[in-house]
């Protein structure tokens, strides 16, 4: 507990503290109080960005949440055919950096775009592009949480409803929705904050539409104004505080659905519903595939739009600005480390929060800190890591410029969603398991190893997959802390796009996609065999 707590303090709180103190300083490091903040709020352009951020985040979140819920519902509660296919396709956006959707949208709807007529003269560079692009890459993040919430339910509730002749709609509103309310609210906040703090999509496709995340970029990269960057970062942290408060309130009302006597839910076929679900999922899946398909096409084109011959030259990364093949292999190493260490740390942390008995204050503080990383934009995290770790008097200074700091930053950056996934899975396990274990005088670690871990194995595997994919695709968290020995593929995509090497960028993004797809297949095989050995109770 203490060790993992300390990990979070060093990797989240202290760097953020150095960020906070930076926001009260002038360029020479003198304390100037709130002067930077006053400066910020008196600049109308910057203030407008906050409103813009809010607008695109809310709009895209609503779209994503509704889509993800219906999609997740179809996957867990209907008898629609080809579920395995839709499950796979839904995770495709996780295989690529968020920048890819921006690149792809340019080819689809840009001035030379193949389908630009669909926009009726509107420009893709702006809120439209940001909303579509964000919705695309955030979708699986929301879906993961929704599915976890929908998977574990007690079939006896539905049997009771049928026995009482409760209508379908009423059953939905009185059993299904309340049952996954907690997951939905979590998903909502995760989605909102991810979009609110993302800088990849607005950077590529945002045009003149300023949002807070790109403001930080402009303040820091354009003006080298770290103090103002720190101020904007602090403002970006507000949603985290909000999310946490709501999370606490909702959590108090949540009751465990999966009691020790629970019966797993198995959907029965209903032709009309299943057909509707199939149509809906097909449309969503088609949109996802069109997005990544265009990127693949772009990667193979000699010079868009004037020379459409196919070529493999765009994969010769050593000739492109932003990083050669080295960066690709570095990314793979980084992702493997992140998945291995991250899963262990995060799962054990969630276990302690959820199933611990004593030390309640400590546990809720721990949970609070675990919520924070979600709200910390990658760029802010990366910058705060420079301020914090690249300080000779810091005992952890030695990890600066190494692979270790990239792994630490990535685990931290993606801590929250994994933590929530683990907590959601654990929450739905009845506390009776522990009580029974305790009454049998079994030490907690035995219950943990014999019951908790096997039951939650699918969730743990999902977490490690989630970490691997994100480590492969993340840009913002690492862009400030990679060194010449540890350049990364995703950063290469960003740099290539920035330099105008859009075809190279698409090709590198696709390399990431192939790799992640391979890992994903491996994960599916692994999950299947684990399901067979540890999850037999679900179907028996």
């Amino acid at each position: 507990m203490l060790a993992i707590g300390a990990f979070l303090v060093v990797c989240v709180l202290l760097p953020l503290y150095s960020m906070l103190s930076k926001s009260f300083e002038n360029a020479d490091g003198d304390f100037i109080g709130l002067a930077n903040y006053a400066d910020y709020f008196s600049t109308p352009a910057l203030f407008l960005s906050a409103i813009n951020s809010l607008y695109v985040s809310v709009t895209a979140s609503v779209i994503v949440l509704v889509t993800a819920f219906v999609y997740g519902y179809a996957l867990t509660r209907s008898c629609m055919p080809f579920k395995w296919f839709f499950k796979l396709v839904a995770l495709v956006p996780l295989l690529t950096p968020s920048l890819l959707s921006g690149i792809s949208l340019v080819y689809w709807f840009g001035k030379q775009g193949v389908a630009k007529e669909l926009l009726f003269g509107e420009l893709i560079y702006g809120p439209i592009g940001i909303i579509i692009g964000s919705a695309y890459w955030v979708f699986p993040h929301a879906l993961m949480i929704v599915i976890t919430a929908l998977t574990i339910t007690d079939a006896r509730l539905y049997e009771a409803a049928t026995a009482l002749r409760t209508g379908t709609l009423r059953t939905f509103f009185t059993i299904t929705l309340p049952g996954c309310k907690y997951g939905l609210i979590s998903a909502g906040f995760v989605t909102f904050t991810l979009i609110f703090t993302d800088f990849g999509v607005p950077k590529v496709i945002g045009g003149n539409y300023n949002v807070l995340a790109t403001d930080i970029y402009k303040q820091v990269i354009g003006q080298q104004n770290f103090e103002m960057g720190a101020v904007v970062s602090m403002i970006l942290l507000l949603p985290a505080v909000l999310a946490f408060t709501v999370d606490r309130v909702v959590q108090k009302k949540q009751v465990a659905l999966l009691s020790a006597q629970a019966v797993p839910y198995r959907p029965k076929p209903k032709r009309k519903r299943d057909l509707c679900m199939l149509v809906f999922c097909s449309i969503v899946a088609a949109l996802i595939l069109l997005m990544i398909g265009m990127a693949q096409y772009a990667a193979l084109i000699t010079f868009w739009p004037y020379n459409l011959e196919f070529t493999l030259a765009n994969y010769d990364f050593d000739l492109a600005n932003g990083g050669g093949w080295d960066s690709y292999f570095n990314s793979i190493r980084m992702a493997l480390y992140t998945a291995a260490f991250g899963t262990v740390i995060i799962f054990f942390g969630a276990y302690l929060v959820e199933k611990g008995r004593r030390f309640i204050a400590g546990r809720s503080i721990f949970h609070a800190i675990a919520m924070l990383p979600l709200a910390v934009p990658g760029m802010v995290l990366g910058l705060s890591y420079i301020f914090f770790f690249n300080n000779p008097s810091n005992p952890f200074n030695f990890i600066y410029g190494t692979m270790a700091i990239l792994v630490v930053a990535t685990i931290t950056h993606f801590y929250t969603v994994s933590h929530l996934t683990a907590v959601t899975a654990l929450k739905q396990m009845d506390a009776e398991f522990e009580s029974v274990g305790a009454s049998l005088k079994a030490p907690f670690y035995r219950t943990f190893a014999r019951v908790t871990v096997p039951v939650c194995m699918p969730a743990a595997l999902d977490i490690s997959m989630y970490l691997f994919l994100n480590a492969m695709t993340t840009v913002s968290a690492v862009v400030f802390i990679y060194s010449s020995d540890t350049t990364l593929a995703s950063v290469a995509v960003l740099n290539m796009d920035d330099q105008g090497e859009i075809a190279f960028a698409a090709a590198m993004a696709m390399m990431i996609a192939y790799t992640c797809a391979g890992a994903r297949i491996l994960h599916a095989l692994l999950t299947r065999s684990i399901m067979r050995t540890t999850q037999a109770w679900r179907t028996s």
Binding site: Y125, Y306, D498
Partner: protein, 341 residues
């Protein structure tokens, strides 16, 4: 007894390690914004003269390298910066991060390519010059006449067809704005930008992007720089590079030693090489204007009259007024949220 044995063992190991290190090549960490496909060539050329110094490149775009250097101010990781905007190096100099050093043969260079202080803190390599990239195919489709000057770009016919970099994120963008303020005067400059703003389709984050987007037809006209224009043209894009009649702003790629480097001797050798005639010939393979007078040969697809079009840029003005100019620019143009169509 045992302990003493251990000590002598350790000492022996230490001596061996130290000895082998003094034989091994010195490694210099060099921060740069030079294009990736040029880096290997530059390092190979340098190693012809100094085979025992190995260069470890850290390459990124100008803004990011500058931000990285400033963020690492208290614990610099770089030994040398080779190929970063001179205005960025002036910023580092003002922060006290640069090491004064007079490289061998620096007196051969054009004066405007060398820091005014003696000994200089930085030395220039080559110039990158603002230019307008025009996509001839798209311009023809839209019946746009070929612009020949900055002022042309404010004509109503170009409404919604011009893309330029945002000076708040792009060094090239700032270079444009500061050059207009110098050429047209403070008031005239802002007036010009007011009317230009009416025609801008969108502002980009990076300085190469407008020309790249002109190359792929995303916009008919992109305000960018000549080097990028030539590269896009080399790729087969239907792009014409226009040097505006009023003159064009420019900045240079430059070199400096980072103060406190542990490899000062090797760093000096690298800087010596960076100002040599051979190095300048090497820069000339991609840049038409280099610091060493008389070595420059015409570069493929570069506009011919480029040297004559370079304005008399007052870098000190740019550096001193940077904050104020960017703020004013942001106040005037950045609050426009919707892209104009």
């Amino acid at each position: 007894m045992k302990r003493r044995y251990l000590h002598s063992m350790l000492a022996a190991v230490a001596v061996t390690v130290l000895a082998s290190q003094s034989w091994a090549a010195t490694t210099l960490t060099v921060y740069t914004a030079i294009e990736a496909d040029d880096l290997k060539r530059y390092a190979a050329e340098f190693n012809k003269y100094y085979p025992d110094i190995e260069i470890k490149w850290v390459r990124d775009s100008t803004g990011i390298v500058t931000a990285k250097l400033l963020a690492e101010k208290n614990n610099p990781q770089a030994d040398v910066v080779w190929g970063l905007a001179a205005t960025s190096l002036m910023l580092l100099k003002a922060e006290g991060m640069t090491q004064a050093y007079k490289p061998k043969g620096v007196e051969q260079l054009d004066k405007k390519f060398v820091d005014g202080e003696d000994p200089p803190h930085w030395t220039g390599m080559d110039a990158w010059v603002a230019a307008i990239c025009v996509n001839t195919v798209e311009a023809k489709k839209l019946n746009l006449p070929m612009p020949t000057s900055w002022k042309d770009l404010t004509k109503p016919v170009y409404k919604g067809h011009v893309v330029m970099p945002n000076p708040n994120s792009s060094g090239t963008g700032f270079l444009d704005v500061s050059s207009w303020l110098q050429m047209f005067g403070e008031e005239g400059g802002w007036q010009f930008m007011d009317s230009l703003h009416q025609n801008i389709a969108w502002y980009t984050h990076s300085g190469s992007k407008p020309c790249r987007q002109a190359g792929s037809g995303e916009t008919p006209i992109g305000v960018s720089f000549a080097y990028r224009g030539a590269k896009v043209k080399n790729k087969g894009a239907p792009v014409e590079i226009v040097m505006p009649a009023e003159g064009a702003g420019w900045d240079m790629e430059a070199t400096t030693i980072i103060k406190g480097t542990k490899n000062l001797e090797a760093a000096k050798k690298l800087v010596d090489f960076s100002v040599s005639k051979e190095a300048n010939q090497m820069y000339n393979s991609v840049y038409a204007v280099v610091a060493y007078p008389g070595v420059a040969q015409p570069v493929k697809n570069y506009p011919e009259n480029i040297g004559a079009k370079m304005m008399n840029n007052d870098f000190q003005f740019a550096a001193d007024n940077r904050k104020r100019i960017l703020k004013e620019w942001q106040r005037r143009y950045d609050s426009k949220s919707e892209p104009k169509s």
